[in-house]
């Protein structure tokens, strides 16, 4: 909401307040100052008298301008959009302007390509009068050179009023609030709540109220008006807050809205046939509004109608055909109260927002309706002559005034936590227009936001400000929650991964339907992804059922920007629906690796590409003892189930594998892409077990190596399974230390591969005899030959 300082000064003497001080005053009243249009000093109107090309620069001109001082001033200028004779804003040396990023800079006399320039001609954006502009600001004709720009464009505050304070949506409202806070008298106030005009009850021949959305409606007829442009004072007021002047009658209604916060509407009486009805629209009824658009209405939309049809959308906008024009002579002036909920529903559904709907939506003050009508009539008669009817026609009843609120001052002190005296509390509430009574604090009718004691506490706290309230440090001991344990687990896992070269990703949780294809997360049978009812676009219409789709998109983007070697991890929530439609939220953890197997370095030859064993190595590092059980899957090559433990008790943590090259190409990804996704909670339960000490061996171990040939297609896992199944008590550990395969067939038959193992034997209570080791070793090798038909080398 634009609020003019000059206009505010009609109501409060702020002559001793700087712009900065007013900014602070508004801010700490709870009114956010989003911007201040404040024209600096030493910025004046100047007339361009001459403009010739700069001798040494094609893009510059040398201008002589009249700055009102009597002596011509030379300015070098780069703009092209002006002509000799134009009036432009001129920043004189010493003028403080705001540069890019709000950094202040001062205009100085200087030389541009060797030619002296004694100031700067400005664009509207350079002096805060526009967000963007192209070329110099050309001022209206007729201004006197030398006039300070600040006189033409007084300071305007762009205010954001919180939704609980509709009473501040006007100059008088803001002035009233500020006057109370600084203890200054409120000037130029008329007693709006108590209209001086006699009222008469409107019967159905004048207006009938047929909907609950309008409990109170007033109408006054003014005859014989002369519609004409508004005088300068009114045009200037509207112009200063960004409103376009239209004619004296419409301008007065706009003026009253921004002065008092009460929206009015003027109908051309000649275009109204029969009595007015305030009713709900019929299904499908159409209405052509002032903005030229035709709207299709439905029951629930409040309208003002006559015998012919709809004249206005109640509290939102007037009609194109019934408004005041240059040919209007008689007007009907409406000042009413429309219920917030109904106005909000209509303006939102039709996406039709106006200064009027904004105020009715938030809650206008019905008690001001008559006063607002009075003020408008006074100005219309003044500016457009004519004569008003003796009485104000009133239909309906004023809504009940806010009830008095009982307040225990100890409650105020208890919530705020500071010793505030009874006198101070009384003085604050009184200054805000409340009156103490037997039943409690009687509220002004415009304060619709204070129905409870806690709301009055808020007023006291707001006025005192937090600066004055002490800073206390009450606390409690906090036992760790389950969330604490998962948080710590995630952070520890994240740090471990970062230490081995992984970059954490945070990808979007909303993905496209196409991306669902990349989901490898193990979800229970029948679980489905969840679609939004109202997505922003079809790139983000599903909640991710797994993390991998996002990581793949991130990898593709990185490759596009030349980042080839990627090791990514991400942790976070994933979403699926049960067949019955219930949502399930799980915490997942995903890995993606592509590019070189290690960083490039001068000391070693070019690193090989990553292969699946790099991924398995990472999984083993973060989840020691993990097993990878090959499974059938179309989603991946070399797909494995990540499991911990064996047999039926094995915990299935997730899946790992290689993204199929065909899919990688579709996604625009280059090279081998290794992926894994796990359930984080299962991972935490599986590896987050309490640590236990195992005694160190007291007696030496004895190792025996063996190498043998197997069919090249035999998975090594079969050999591992063989050793794991052996009952040999002395066998402590088995380590595969070499795999050799010669496709040329020179050193080994091409269809065979050689595996070399080191077997370690140990007895817990004594040193083993060589013979015992030999016996155990031979027994194992014999069993191995029988079991897998290996050839020892």
């Amino acid at each position: 909401m634009n609020t003019s300082l000059k206009w505010l000064r009609d109501h409060v003497d702020f002559s001793d307040f700087s712009i900065e001080k007013l900014d602070e005053l508004l801010t700490f009243a709870g009114i956010e100052v989003e911007g201040i249009r404040n024209i600096p000093d030493k910025l004046v109107v100047a007339k361009v008298l001459e403009s010739v090309p700069h001798p040494d620069a094609d893009k510059l001109s040398v201008c002589q301008v009249d700055d009102g001082s009597g002596t011509n001033r030379q300015i070098v200028c780069g703009a092209k959009n002006y002509q000799v004779g134009d009036l432009v804003p001129l920043a004189l040396p010493g003028c403080q302007l705001e540069g890019e990023g709000g950094k202040p800079f001062e205009i100085k006399e200087g030389k541009l390509r060797g030619v002296p320039s004694l100031g700067m001609m400005c664009a509207a954006s350079e002096i805060g009068l526009a967000k963007e502009s192209d070329g110099l600001m050309i001022l209206p004709e007729g201004l006197t050179p030398g006039t300070p720009m600040a006189e033409l464009y007084p300071a305007v505050f762009e205010l954001e009023i919180t939704p609980n304070r509709p009473d501040c949506l006007s100059h008088l409202g803001v002035a009233r609030e500020l006057a109370a806070l600084v203890g200054k008298p409120l000037l130029g106030v008329y007693d709006h709540t108590d209209s001086a005009t006699p009222t008469s009850v409107a019967d159905e021949s004048i207006v009938s109220l047929q909907t609950e959305m309008c409990p109170f409606y007033t109408l006054r007829r003014i005859k014989g008006v002369k519609v004409a442009p508004s005088p300068a004072w009114l045009q200037e007021k509207l112009d200063s807050i960004g409103l376009r002047p239209i004619n004296n009658v419409v301008d007065v209604t706009n003026y009253v809205l921004h002065e008092m916060g009460h929206p009015l509407h003027a109908f051309d009486a000649a275009k109204v046939t029969g009595p007015l009805r305030v009713r709900e629209a019929a299904e499908g009824e159409t209405f052509k509004a002032l903005d030229g658009e035709t709207y299709t209405l439905e029951p629930g939309d409040g309208v003002i109608a006559d015998d012919q049809g709809i004249l206005a959308l109640a509290g939102v906008m007037g009609g194109e055909d019934s408004g005041v024009t240059e040919s209007t002579t008689d007007i009907l002036l409406e000042s009413a109260y429309f219920c917030p909920t109904a106005v909000r529903r209509t303006s939102r559904r039709l996406n039709l927002h106006s200064d009027s709907s904004y105020r009715f939506e938030r809650g206008a003050d019905a008690y001001q309706a008559a006063g607002a009508s009075d003020l408008a009539v006074k100005h219309i008669l003044d500016l457009a002559s004519g004569s008003a009817e003796e009485t104000l026609h009133v239909a309906g009843e004023l809504p009940a005034a806010p009830a008095a609120v009982a307040l225990d001052n100890d409650y105020v002190r208890q919530v705020i936590g500071a010793p505030i005296s009874d006198e101070r509390i009384s003085s604050i509430l009184t200054s805000l227009g409340m009156k103490d009574s037997q039943k409690g604090w009687v509220l002004p009718t415009f304060r619709v936001d204070l129905p409870r004691a806690i709301d009055l506490v808020e007023e006291v706290a707001r006025v005192i400000g937090l600066d004055e309230i002490p800073a206390e440090t009450k606390a409690r001991f906090a036992p760790a929650s389950k969330s604490d344990a998962s948080y710590d687990f995630c952070m520890q896992l994240g740090r471990q991964l970062a230490a081995i070269g992984f970059h954490e990703n945070r990808t979007l949780k909303l993905i496209s339907e196409a991306q669902l294809a990349d989901n490898i997360a193990v979800n229970h049978r029948g679980m489905s992804p969840i679609r939004l009812k109202n997505p922003l676009n079809d790139e983000q219409d599903y909640l991710r059922p797994g993390i991998l789709p996002g990581l793949l998109a991130s990898a593709e983007r990185n490759q596009r920007f030349g980042n080839r070697d990627l090791r990514f991890y991400e942790m976070g929530r994933v979403f699926t629906a049960t067949p019955k439609g219930g949502e399930v939220e799980n915490e997942h953890f995903a890995l993606l690796m592509t590019g070189a197997s290690r960083p490039r370095n001068w000391a070693a030859k070019e690193p090989s590409s990553l292969d699946i064993h790099d991924l398995l190595g990472v999984l083993d590092a973060i989840c020691p003892g993990v097993a990878l059980v090959p499974i059938e899957s179309d989603a991946m090559i070399g797909a494995c189930s990540i499991e911990l433990g064996t047999g039926k008790k094995a915990a299935k943590l997730g899946m790992a594998g290689i993204l199929p090259p065909a899919r990688a190409r579709e996604l625009g990804l280059d090279g081998v892409v290794l992926v894994a996704e796990m359930n984080l909670k299962k991972l935490q339960t599986s590896i987050g077990q309490t640590r236990r000490f195992t005694p160190l061996p007291k007696f030496p171990a004895s190792s025996r190596d063996t190498a043998f040939l197997v069919d090249s297609g035999l998975p090594v896992g079969r050999v591992s399974e063989f050793f794991a199944a052996q009952q040999e008590q002395l066998l402590e550990s088995v380590e595969l230390f070499d795999v050799f395969h010669d496709p040329s067939g020179e050193k080994l038959p091409a269809d065979k591969k050689s595996l070399a193992y080191s077997l370690t034997y140990r007895h817990p209570d004594r040193t083993l005899e060589s013979a015992e080791v030999e016996t155990a070793h031979e027994k194992l090798l014999t069993a191995l030959k029988q079991s897998l038909n290996v050839d020892f080398r």
């Binding site: 709870g30 956010e32 990023g101 709000g102 950094k103 202040p104 939704p163 609980n164 909000r344 208890q414 936590g417 500071a418 409870r452 806690i454 506490v457 808020e458 706290a461 400000g465 937090l466 600066d467 309230i469 002490p470 206390e472 440090t473 009450k474 606390a475 409690r476 906090a478 036992p479 948080y487 740090r495 991964l497 970062a498 230490a499 070269g501 970059h503 954490e504 990703n505 945070r506 990808t507 979007l508 949780k509 909303l510 679609r531 939004l532 009812k533 983000q540 909640l543 983007r557 920007f561 090791r567 929530r573 949502e583 939220e585 290690r598 960083p599 370095n601 001068w602 000391a603 070693a604």
Partner: protein
Amino acid sequence: MIEELDAIQSEALNAVATVTDDAGLEALRIGFLGKKGKLTAASAGMRDVPKEQKKNVGQKLNETRQAITAALETKGAELIAAKDAAQFEGIDPTLPGRTLPKGAQHPLTLVQDEAVQILRRMGFALAEGPEIETEWHCFDALNTPADHPARNESDTFYFENGKLLRTHTSSVQIRTMEKQAPPVRIIAPGSAFRRDEIDATHLSAFHQLEGLYVDTGVTLADLKGTLEFFFRELFGEDTEVRFRPHFFPFTEPSFEVDLKLHATGQAAKWIEIAGCGMVDPAVLQSVSESRKDDAFTADGISGFAFGMGIDRLAMIKYGVPDLRLLIENDVRFLGQFA
């Protein structure tokens, strides 16, 4: 005999002086001092030395042995020293190290963890709640009017079954109070969603940190002390914090918290960093109705709540100018936080 020993000694010392490796030195030791060595052989001649000369000759024999032994040891030490020196000759510490893989946690995680660690020192435990929420937990229980704009389908993501993606982490306040009676002292970092087009300052999915403390006699003064301490811990003890009156449906009184930001090359300015306030009695009333007890509406029970954007904390803390950098996951960006 004496002359013979002199000759052996002289021969041995000359030989030691010219030897250049361990093997040669060992050969000399064996050649002179070994079982069949020259000195060992010469010492056998002691038998033929007349008795009156035995003492002198014996002494000479010892001296010769000591001289040769000492020469061998000295030479041995010299050879080791020379070898040690040769081992490190020509090393170039300016040649870069062998590269280890470098990774990093995401800046959002880093700044969130900093905040979480501070709040944990202040006695807050972590809490969580679902991101797919009911309208009751996200709006009704938080005293949001039925026709509040935030509930609009233009502002909030909905599902066909009427549930929604939570628009703030404040719903975790309700989830926690439903399960736990006072004292409640929790923080909840998490995602929230609003139907905003993504640009430099808006994300459709963003990250918030919620805080809630409900106990006997919690005051506005406690809220002020808590947040001032927190922001000074996070941004440095000189950090200026101010509380501006504001309006939220679920707190009364409500404030917005601003920090004074001193960015290099720019005028210092106040920037909004958090919202906070005393938990509105209507919220405690909703919780009580859901719990069917008066744990939160009993006399003297009050609380404060606060919430802030983690994305914004990261932007300020690390000088990130555009929110989109936080979701693009470009390794050239992520690598800056290693």
